[in-house]
Amino acid sequence: MKKLIRLLIITLLLFIPTFKGVNALDIYLFYGDGCPHCADEEKLLDSYLKSSDDVVVHKYEVWNNKDNAKLVKEVADIMEVKFVGVPYIVIGDKVISGYMDDSTTGEQIKSYINIYRNEEFTDRVGEYIKTGKVIKKDEPTEPKKKDEKVSFKVFGKKYTVNPRTVSLPLISVVLGLVDGFNPCAMWVLLFLITMLFNMKDKKKMWILGLTFILTSGLVYLAFMLSWFNLASLVPKLSLLRFIVALVALGAGIFNINNYIKSLSKDDGCEVVDDKKRKRIINRIIKITSNKKFIFAFFGIILLAATVNLIELMCSIGIPLIYTQILSMNNLSTFRYMIYMLIYIVFFLLDDILIFAISMKTFKVTGISTKYTKYSHLVGGIIMLIIGILMLLKPELLMFNF
């Protein structure tokens, strides 16, 4: 176990510096649903930026969305280029209104993207959207810093990273790990492993166990995506962030309180809800003793989905807060997915380790309740800090150093 933990730490250290140290260029596209020129422009951007991860296109629909319609007029005032219709795109310090075709406007867009990828400029639209601060064209400001990098050494090798690109992966790893230690659904996995041992067919045991773990991850991902979609629909400085901040504060206090209470109690498993547990135990026995593998397979999927949905309420705080942080960072869909997957992988890591070790040794392995206790404390402190930042200094969670 100690070896595995050491391996995990080394993997983490190696994992972090692999992220590219570049600063993203944010461009802002205002479009209308059903507008053919907007569709052409979007198509061009999608194909041109397909393999680029250093440009983020923020899209705002203005025909049906009143808030966005208001925003585009405010942006037009800031950029001093009148808004006469869609598409209206802001790239760096330049505005392109309308779209002729790929060979004219398309080429102009590509050239602006390439200029502002490397040139320092003040992201006035981004600043306005995030903070509400209006910066006029000739106002002297600190330009957006490019290539602000930090260097450090791992195993004698020098790595250079940009804090912005490291912060989100790091927060995904930390929150995923802390959330993973949550014991709510762990008991089901432990019971399932023991019952799988009775099957005596290693291949089937691996398939069923991994199906349970993967389905648990998918349920979590589905929850996070739903919350993310909801968060994206609501305008920026909204009530939603305030609510999530309150959830973070509440969950933080609850977790720290749990930790304090656990200090005066014996370490061990608390027996709660006998009826619910026995119902789930009976279902697992029924599934694993089913002679037809296909029924057992779908039974496990159903079991994992229902158990995780029920137990989600037990650990809703961290994924909720994490998704809110992602939505505050205006990333490309690709990046959102990557970060969510990182979170899920680290969330499932302890389950995967326990399952793999148990399968290899044919003996159930458990993580000490002492670690679970500390995860309450660490999780509580992190949630409390994030809650306070969300309320008082949300820009610090946007990682725009």
Partner: protein, 86 residues
């Protein structure tokens, strides 16, 4: 001295204590009856809300309980304490 250990399959603390108990049994040659919280009749033991629970008997009379997760070292200390009781 007789020990009755009540644990559950789904409980990580029980798994850890069980492993430690197996080692103690092997070394100290004590008698332990293991019961499962969900599958055995444990109603007469009046088990609390924290698992595992080890009930210690001397001449069929309960003289103490070891409650919660114990590693090998802690469990040895607890068992030694009871084994010294006259």
């Amino acid at each position: 001295m007789k020990y009755v250990m009540i644990s559950a399959i789904w409980c990580p603390a029980c798994i850890i204590t069980n492993t430690a108990m197996d080692k103690v049994v092997e070394e100290k040659h004590i008698t332990v009856e293991k019961l499962d919280y969900d599958f055995d009749d444990i109603s007469k033991y009046n088990v609390g809300k924290i698992l595992p629970e080890i009930i210690v008997y001397k001449d069929d009379k309960e003289i103490g309980r070891i409650i919660g997760e114990k590693n090998y070292k802690d469990l040895c200390m607890e068992i030694d304490k009871y084994e010294k009781v006259d």
